[in-house]
Subunit: 228 residues, 2 copies
Amino acid sequence: MAELSGQSGVPVATIKYYLREGMLRPGEYSSPNQASYGQSHVERLRLVRALLDVGGLSVASVGAVLTAIDDETMPLTWAFGVAQHALPNPIGTTPERPVPIGADDPAHFERTDSAEQQALLHPELREVFAERGWVVSAGNPGIPIATRVLETYDALGLSHLKSTLGRYAAAASSIAEADLGAVGMRDDRAEMVESVVVGTVLGDALLAGLRRIAQENVSNQVFPDSPA
Amino acid sequence: MAELSGQSGVPVATIKYYLREGMLRPGEYSSPNQASYGQSHVERLRLVRALLDVGGLSVASVGAVLTAIDDETMPLTWAFGVAQHALPNPIGTTPERPVPIGADDPAHFERTDSAEQQALLHPELREVFAERGWVVSAGNPGIPIATRVLETYDALGLSHLKSTLGRYAAAASSIAEADLGAVGMRDDRAEMVESVVVGTVLGDALLAGLRRIAQENVSNQVFPDSPA
């Protein structure tokens, strides 16, 4: 374990904590006090650190996404759901209708193209779904997030900000296609699921970073009033 | 104050706290124990709540963006910088080179097209800057965020995820143009700055929500292996 700690840069006490929490598989015991760890442990440790430190996931959420990576019977589409539900909610509120991912939950199969679900959608979001031909499960965590933002624009008397919705939706489509394209570059199932999880979690941050850069670039062009 | 609380739904104790923290201007005193509040107070209260609850900003950051809205001498391009710096960092680390926004700080005027700054950029980010003709201040908070994500993809042996960078950058450009377009729909300076602040803060969440929807939609098409 001291060696594993040296190779990964993760303190022994932290490795023991990850083992207790099931985020790291036990090593192979050659004697009661001697376990051996391999390259797979070093890689798993790096993944756990990235999800916690860079992705900002909770310990419980890291456990959920690791289960998705290790469960070879889970369909790949579900891995996206698991990764999405594991992400910290960007608006700091719990979605009203959280849908657990699992074959035993009928709500997982309710879809946004039913008349009932269409009526529940925010009118402007419903328009975007129609324009883009989007059909997803009713419990998709993006729906309450987008709804809350649109409602807040209205509540603040800044309804003109909703004019961005179409462009944002087009951008989101292009991003999702890039995400899926990257996943398809791997053919090993575990690597594909790991790509889904890491790309979903860190892709939000990458996009937020690039948006800050693009905003400054275009604002310098549109409003060249900087005293620089 | 009881009336203001009733109209806005914000408890009196909370209103007093906002007054102490300078997030709300004092009412006009008609007698030592009687102040009157107007529509502008109701609107400011709504904005403060949205930035705290929906945007997830800290009290200190709300103070900074309110100053930007109220300071009529601040150029509009700076308002973007203030809003960007106020946002919680999506990767949970402090950027290495935080740049305060202000005419007295020479670092504010150092730009990414200098040879020195080019050498500091992550190679793949430098390529994107060249392709898109992006030139921004060296202290743009998006630079360390995007860099950290790219480095993490490499560290996890998932370098193929970097193949998304070009599409993400194109999407970020389109989004930034939509953001600026929405701001330009207003002609009152205070309303423009408020649009910048709210659109920057809540736009990240809107985009994250739409990305979750688009991901599920495209993954259902690309991997139709769901047992639904």
